[in-house]
């Protein structure tokens, strides 16, 4: 991505982005973190998506295949999460909707009228709960921003339907806007951060037609989207359709790539060089389409990071996603 459409981002972000190799860095072989690095040879079947056969695409939407250390990273998150939970005050847990799960955890900063970062978790749409992510809250709370973690249903609880999850995330963000003052937040400084399937959901939040609900179109002032999916067609063709009941309507309405005209926030779109071929391509193509449409976007290509390692940097003010969020929100 070139710098021409990035006027809403700060100069430091641009400098950092350039240094981060976001300018036309060739992708590394995505097999770098497979174990064994060279999968056994096999006869390739008919291509089902781009140059991929069924096994290729199934693997391209299975991050564990390309991130040998997935379990170690999860152990690390659990461990660091416990440390953060021991240090931070308990979040305020508030309902944004009527069902039991429709709650959000607010980690409050001490600063008055502070900006808010809303986090939408990942987990292939089928895993993840708000209390697992205190670890990401700490840097923001300490730097003077509220951090809000959304709880919403997993796809196993919605009969395979992603629509209700998107709808929950939209209602939660609208709740934050309407109720910001109640917890010391500035409703005009709401930002989003997410990773993996959470970035798919975030991108759907970003294409919400807020004006139809009497809310400002630019309700969200910026978003950092790590390792997401922005067109569901190839996902539908992959084995993820064994647990997501994709329909034509879902594919069409929940592919943010197809609704770029409705995006009214500057975006940072990031992926790691060690992610699967599809997770690299999804981010690259989305950034390209945004740029072509004249939308402010910065593509960050994080060298040496796999899918889970990119996500881990949400809690790291000096690395990929955390740095981008700090710069976007002008946190010191």
């Amino acid at each position: 991505m070139t710098a021409e459409h990035q006027h809403k981002l700060t100069r430091r972000a641009l400098v950092a982005g350039a240094a981060a190799g976001s300018v036309a860095l060739a992708a590394e072989p995505a097999s770098a973190q497979r174990c064994p690095a060279e999968p056994p040879t096999r006869v390739k079947g008919p291509a089902v998506w781009l140059d991929m056969d069924q096994q290729d695409i199934d693997e391209a939407y299975d991050n564990d295949v390309y991130a040998f250390n997935a379990k170690s990273i999860n152990d690390r998150r659990v461990y660091n999460n416990q440390i953060a939970r021991d240090l931070l005050e308990k979040p305020q847990r508030v309902a944004y909707g009527p069902t039991e799960i429709e709650k959000l955890d607010i980690y409050k900063t001490r600063r008055a009228n502070a900006p808010v970062l809303v986090f939408i978790h990942g987990g292939s749409w089928r895993g993840g709960r708000a209390d697992q992510f205190t670890v990401y809250a700490e840097p923001y709370v300490k730097a003077g921003a509220h951090f809000v973690v959304l709880d919403f249903n997993n796809v196993g609880e919605t009969n395979g339907d992603i629509f209700p999850m998107v709808e929950q995330c939209r209602r939660a963000v609208a709740w934050v806007y309407r109720n910001a003052a109640s917890f010391g937040a500035n409703p005009n400084e709401i930002y989003l951060i997410s990773r993996s399937s959470g970035s798919h959901l975030s991108s759907c939040v970003l294409i919400t037609e807020w004006e139809k609900q009497g809310l400002p179109r630019d309700l969200v002032k910026g978003a950092v989207l790590g390792s997401g999916m922005y067109d569901l067609k190839p996902v539908r063709l992959s084995k993820r359709s064994s647990f997501v009941k994709f329909t034509d309507a879902m594919e069409q309405e929940l592919s943010a790539m197809r609704h770029i005209g409705r995006i009214n926030a500057p975006l940072v779109v990031a992926h790691g060089t060690l992610e699967t071929p599809e997770f690299q391509r999804q981010a690259r193509d989305f950034a390209k389409a945004l740029e072509a449409a004249g939308k402010p976007v910065k593509l960050v290509v994080a060298r040496g990071y796999n899918h889970y390692e990119v996500g881990e940097t949400i809690g790291h003010p000096y690395a990929v996603l955390g740095r981008a969020a700090f710069e976007m929100m002008k946190l010191a």
Binding site: Q33, D75, P317
Partner: protein, 335 residues
Amino acid sequence: MTERPSEQFNRRTLIAGTALGAVALASAPASAQRCPAVPPPRTKGPLVWLDLDQHELDEAYDQSVYAFNQQHITDRRNERNEVALKVIGKPDRVAYGAAEIERVDIYKTSRANAPVMIYLHGGAWRNGRSALNAYLAEPFVKAGAHFINVEFNNVGETNGDIAPMVDQCRRAVAWVHRNAAGFGGDSNALYLSGHSSGGHLAGCVVITEWEKLSLPRDVLKGALLGSGMYDLKPVRLSARSSYVKFTDAVEQALSAQRHIDKLHTPLVLVHGTLETPEFQRQTRDFHAALRAAGKPATLIVAKGHNHFELGESLGNPYGVMGRAAFEMMKLATGA
């Protein structure tokens, strides 16, 4: 390992230390990050150290065997260095000794009379340069501490001798103490950190008899040692002796664990659960020996971290080593 309160550290450190599972956490299988996870079967040879045969001992001192993603972490670090240098600017590079290599890189903070973190890089004694670790400086500088990367010879440049490297690190610390005021540092708030072979060197620095150099015994107010080696005997028995010329004198003088009585600095020792068996044991045993001698020491066992991931965490105030350093130096993060 049991935790006894050590008054040199604040309550948060202790809470964190407990939460960290420092209390009797069983080590995760160190093979967890080998690729393939289960090495091919082979006939075990005679034991050369504890229950390890030569092959196992060699592997236990070869990080690449247990950390398949070493190169990726290096790639990450190189990229972060570039970003960090653009944000915080180039360091002042100042001589602490006569040789060309004897320089310190000072990354200055804007706070007056600020505490100083001195960092000794790792690299199995044979790799590494101060400039490769610029990224570690940024969080410290922003939080109000100076960060100093020490440049010293690699063992390939000293004819296989580690002693001159230790001597360089000691002289660098003495230089910082004497010259702190000149760059806005508080000579009474000097801290040390090191990782891997830098953890070994830092172990040697904290057992320096500073009084013989007319310096206060507690010239270092705290030290954070990550993934280090504190007894050189098993290292000497390993493949590392192909490039380090170990002698009885080197082994004895530069095994910090054998000189615990000379220690006047509170230590925080860290290892990851995914490190090699020996790198886990070295830290565990050093900590046990320090506690037995009544010296202030905290052990942090970092779950889910391999050798290099642990070192990387020094550059994150919310990561294992960064958090420990900030607490040791009483640095505040953010507002």
